[in-house]
């Protein structure tokens, strides 16, 4: 994206006010920011859905695999960029009887032959380790499972860019863990470029290579994950740092020091059920509680 500016149809206010952002193959770029910063709009613009599918006015340049999104049809953009939304229920077609058929929905729309469809469906299921759900009814899955099926159905189109708009926001802790683990594996093993919008900075710390902070439709900070998530200015932008950083600061503020100083952010897992960080291998500092 180069100086991308976007206003929804019927409005003059630019929700994106000049965004410059590159997402390279094999990298995970996370976007964080306060509410109403334009994060979801950024996802729609990056995926080419805005303005192709929803209208509005886009200025600047948005390239998908080298092509301007303004010149693409929706189905062409879909083959270059996959997008996953927050609500799993709205992303399932509601017209299929099994997960296998749900994942095949996109390739079928492209008119691919049966062999190609089988290959893509099996590949997508293997990538996310959900082959065991293949014969299940998509309407009878848990939130986390449904989100993984929605992700697989997008991956079956083999996009070079994947946009994830708060994929765990409507999931319970177990679902969050399921999707978070799958995203972590996917990010590590694939050459796909990933743009991740998330409020859960703990998840961002685990899987993102870079973090961009979006405030008021502009990117105000952008850099390596550890550097940005430890930046004291993050809270001023309305973004909570990950639990590990909060513990680090709390311990430092309490005048204690020790093992936390060298603690790797990515190694400190957040237990979504307990709501507290759970160190993986690193010892807890004296007096700190998990």
């Amino acid at each position: 994206m180069r100086d991308a500016r976007y206003a929804y149809a019927g409005t003059s206010r630019q929700v994106l006010a000049g965004v410059d952002l590159d997402v390279e193959a094999g990298r995970v770029v996370a976007v964080v920011g306060p509410n109403e910063a334009g994060k979801s709009t950024l996802c729609l613009v990056a995926a080419g859905l805005a303005p192709i599918a929803i209208g509005g006015r886009l200025e600047g340049s948005v390239l998908l695999a080298g092509d301007e999104t303004a010149g693409l049809a929706a189905y062409q953009a879909a083959q270059r960029c996959g997008i996953l939304f927050q609500n799993p229920a709205t992303q399932l077609s509601g017209t299929t009887s099994t997960v296998w058929e749900e994942i095949a929905f996109g390739p079928r729309n492209l008119g691919l032959d049966i062999g190609a469809i089988v290959e893509r469906v099996e590949g997508a299921m293997a990538t996310l380790d959900i082959a065991g759900l293949a014969d299940r009814d998509p309407q009878r899955l848990s939130g986390g499972q449904a989100q993984l099926v929605a992700l697989a159905s997008v991956l079956a189109l083999r996009p070079s860019l994947l946009v994830l708009d708060e994929p765990t926001s409507q999931l319970d802790p177990a679902g969050t863990r399921l999707v978070g683990d799958a995203l972590g594996r996917f990010a590590a093993d694939n050459g796909t470029a990933v743009l991740l919008v998330e409020h859960k900075t703990g998840l961002v710390a685990r899987i993102a290579d870079e973090v961009a902070v979006l405030v008021g439709g502009r990117i105000v900070e952008h850099g390596p994950t550890a550097e940005i998530l430890r930046d004291p200015a993050l809270a001023e932008h309305g973004v909570d740092p990950p639990p590990a950083v909060r513990i680090e600061r709390a311990v430092a503020a309490a005048g204690r020091s020790g093992d936390l100083a060298g603690l790797d952010l990515a190694a400190l897992e957040v237990d979504p059920i307990a709501g507290a960080p759970r160190p993986t291998g690193a010892p807890l500092p004296t007096g700190a509680r998990a």
Binding site: G94, T95, L110
Partner: protein
């Protein structure tokens, strides 16, 4: 026998091989037969039309091994049948052949005959639709309609509407529970329960509408608007004799109904 988990091929649970010769018929053939039966059940005057249709439907259901599955469908029309019987027997206009006087009520033989005929028509219609529904997966029907020229969007709308019914029921239940937690009275008098529909209906409608845009975008993200034909996963074989059957059944139903309406059909 298809191995459901053999890699590189469409799994057996997707192909869903038909379990009988009637099940194996092309969906359009079964659809035309159901329409023809329904047309004859309602369009042919007298007893013959509905009785013949019921006999055909029962024979078909038995051959397709879905006979027992018809019972819930038959039970579902009981309320309608009951009202038909009561209204026609006691309130048939112009009838004077009273069966017996029960206080102010005077059931008539003419009304009872009309009620029984109407009951048979409703039963014939319901059972013919039931046999069709029990022997034809929705996916197959929609795929066949799409193959025959019904647009991709039309097929999706029909399929999504059918699939949405159980979800709406579940959603209504969730909304009811959450509204009860906020003090909504759902178990009081009829008037209270009617008043309770508004706090139930509003979130359902608003929720459904707010999801429309995201659903639309999710569909576009899966190349829904791509040109050309969608790939059909399951073969839907058709044959010359099935085409003949469709034409004969369709035209035959039209001719029978027209003849009956014109008074040219000498059947009771």
């Amino acid at each position: 026998m298809i191995d459901a988990h053999r890699p590189g091929v469409v799994p057996g649970f997707v192909l869903r091989p038909p379990t009988g010769s009637y099940h194996a018929l092309n969906p359009s053939t079964k659809l035309v037969l159901a329409f023809a039966e329904a047309a004859v059940a309602f369009g042919v005057r007298g007893w013959t039309g509905p009785l013949v249709v019921i006999a055909i439907v029962i024979a078909t259901a038995t051959a397709a091994r879905v006979g027992r599955s018809l019972v819930p469908f038959a039970l579902a029309v009981i309320p309608l049948v009951a009202s038909i019987l009561l209204v026609n027997t006691f309130l048939f206009p112009g009838a004077t052949d009273v069966i017996a006087r029960i206080g102010p009520l005077a059931p008539t033989w003419t009304g009872l005959e009309a009620a029984l005929q109407a009951t048979l028509r409703v039963a014939a219609f319901a059972l013919s639709v039931a046999v069709f529904a029990l022997t034809t997966p929705t996916d197959d029907l929609l795929a066949d309609l799409e193959r025959r020229g019904l647009g991709r969007r039309g097929v999706f709308v029909i399929g999504a509407a059918i699939g949405m019914i159980p979800r709406m029921v579940e959603r209504a239940s969730e909304i009811t529970d959450s509204q009860r937690a906020r003090g909504l009275d759902t178990e009081g008098s009829r008037w209270r329960r009617i008043r309770g529909v508004v706090p139930l209906a509003a979130p359902m409608i608003i929720g459904a509408l707010s999801e429309v845009e995201e659903r639309t975008m999710a569909l576009e993200a899966r190349a829904f608007s791509a040109p050309g034909r969608r790939t059909i996963l399951r073969p839907l074989p058709d044959s010359a004799w099935q085409r003949i059957v469709r034409w004969v059944a369709g035209l035959g139903a039209i001719i029978l109904v027209a003849a009956s309406v014109a008074g040219l059909l000498p059947v009771p």
